[in-house]
């Protein structure tokens, strides 16, 4: 009897040992507290089909939702109070004035909506009224490929560098490079620069109130915090243990580690970053079991100290932070009603 029990136990041990895949649960950052949040679904009144909503912004009760895999328009406007569709912007297409894709939404103080078409290398101020003219900024070809942007001020944009020579670049309203700053915080100096830039592809957020820029790696768990006004590095969180893992295959970075962060917001006192943590090994092996999105919102102070981690009841791809009302507006890409509201106030 004892031998049978021991045999079953050992077989179980063997199965367990070989079942453990490289899931990115290693504690790159330890948060002093973890809070679970329950989302509240906001039902859209109109049948606007959002295929892969990825970015959401709220300004003056208008909700802007960006869809990266749309068949028609990339950006949809809703009246947030009743979630009624008010209009659509950035039509998909190859013609002049159309978009091959959009990477992000930025809304300026005047309520103008800006987006970036990485494939056309353009930052565009979208037209919301018939009498308006779009502003199209053709980005300097030396930038190679720009995958995110934010506004430094009324006349300058910040963009992540894609050449591997720098970390960020400053671009004026003519698309010209004004200057570069910082370096990819990689310890591998022998890697090809562009491959390294691909692997360290990051989402950015800048808050002009205090001049803090934060960057979060999509293919790793690194959070970089820079003081743009002082031109200094404040903190690189997870520089070693969270660095993107990849292989250089024919001059391209093929990710082999994890899906890390997918959205970031620099608030007045905190930095909020949406973390996935799913391993590419698992996604490749079990694509049908994979759920797009992340369930973790990591909160840091402006010095990079971990403050808390929110664990959501859904997988989201992007979010908006309303610090004044203490709520997140999130995008559940796996639902037909993707707008979810989370209250995080005490």
């Amino acid at each position: 009897m004892k031998r049978i029990f021991a045999a079953v136990l050992l077989m179980g041990l063997g199965i367990t040992m070989t079942s453990c895949s490289a899931v990115a649960t290693a504690e790159v950052v330890v948060f002093p507290e973890t809070i679970s949040l329950q989302g509240k679904k906001k039902t859209m009144q109109d049948s606007v089909y959002l295929r892969y909503p990825f970015r959401v912004r709220l300004k003056d009760d208008i909700l802007y939702v960006m869809d990266i895999h749309t068949a028609a328009h990339h950006i949809h406007l809703f009246d947030y109070k009743i979630l009624q569709h008010k209009g659509s912007l950035a039509h998909r297409g190859e013609a002049p004035g159309e978009f091959l894709g959009t990477e992000n939404i930025r809304i300026d103080e005047q309520g103008d909506v800006w987006t970036l078409d990485a494939n056309k290398s353009k930052i565009v101020r979208l037209v919301q009224q018939e009498d308006e003219q779009p502003i199209e900024i053709n980005l300097d070809k030396k930038l190679v490929r720009t995958l995110d942007f934010d506004r430094l001020n009324d006349s300058v944009f910040i963009v992540p560098d894609y050449t591997g020579q720098h970390r960020i670049s400053f671009v004026n309203y003519h698309g010209n490079i004004l200057k570069h700053a910082f370096q990819i915080p990689s310890s591998n100096e022998n890697e090809n620069a562009i491959v390294s830039a691909q692997a360290w592809r990051s989402f950015i957020s800048y808050n002009p109130h205090h001049g803090i820029l934060a960057m979060a790696t999509q293919l790793g768990q690194v959070l970089e915090i820079y003081d743009i006004k002082q031109d200094t590095i404040i903190e690189i969180v997870g520089q070693e243990s969270g660095a993107p893992q990849f292989t250089n295959r024919g001059g391209y970075a093929v990710p082999t580690g994890i899906m890390g962060y997918s959205d970031i917001h620099v608030g007045h006192e905190h930095i909020y970053a949406l973390f996935w943590g799913s391993s590419f090994e698992d996604i490749r092996k079990r694509p049908d079991d994979h759920r797009e999105g992340g369930r973790y919102i990591h909160v840091f102070d402006l010095k990079g100290n971990p403050v808390r981690q929110y664990v959501l009841d859904r997988y989201i791809t992007g979010f908006h932070v309303d610090e004044a009302n203490k709520k997140f507006i999130a995008l559940d890409v796996n639902s037909n009603q993707p707008i979810i509201e989370y209250a995080f106030g005490n």
Partner: protein, 70 residues
């Protein structure tokens, strides 16, 4: 004691073999499903690199964002 260790080693080996077999079977099935359901297969010219399905990862040789690159 020797007999006990032999039995122990055999049990661990059977456990490992059983799991590897199950994983292999699962992967084969999933690969078939993935290819059958693939919505956005983008393959570079002579590169052998494949960008699979829809997602938010930038494909090195396509304008479409994909689930993963391999």
């Amino acid at each position: 004691m020797k007999k006990y260790l032999t039995v122990l080693a055999c049990c661990v080996a059977i456990g490992i073999a059983l799991n590897v077999s199950l994983q292999f079977q699962s992967d084969s099935n999933k690969a078939g499903i993935t290819l059958a359901n693939n919505e956005a297969l983008a393959q570079g010219e002579n590169s052998g690199k494949i960008c699979e399905s829809f997602g938010s990862v930038d494909c090195p040789h396509s304008t479409i964002k994909v689930l993963y690159v391999q």
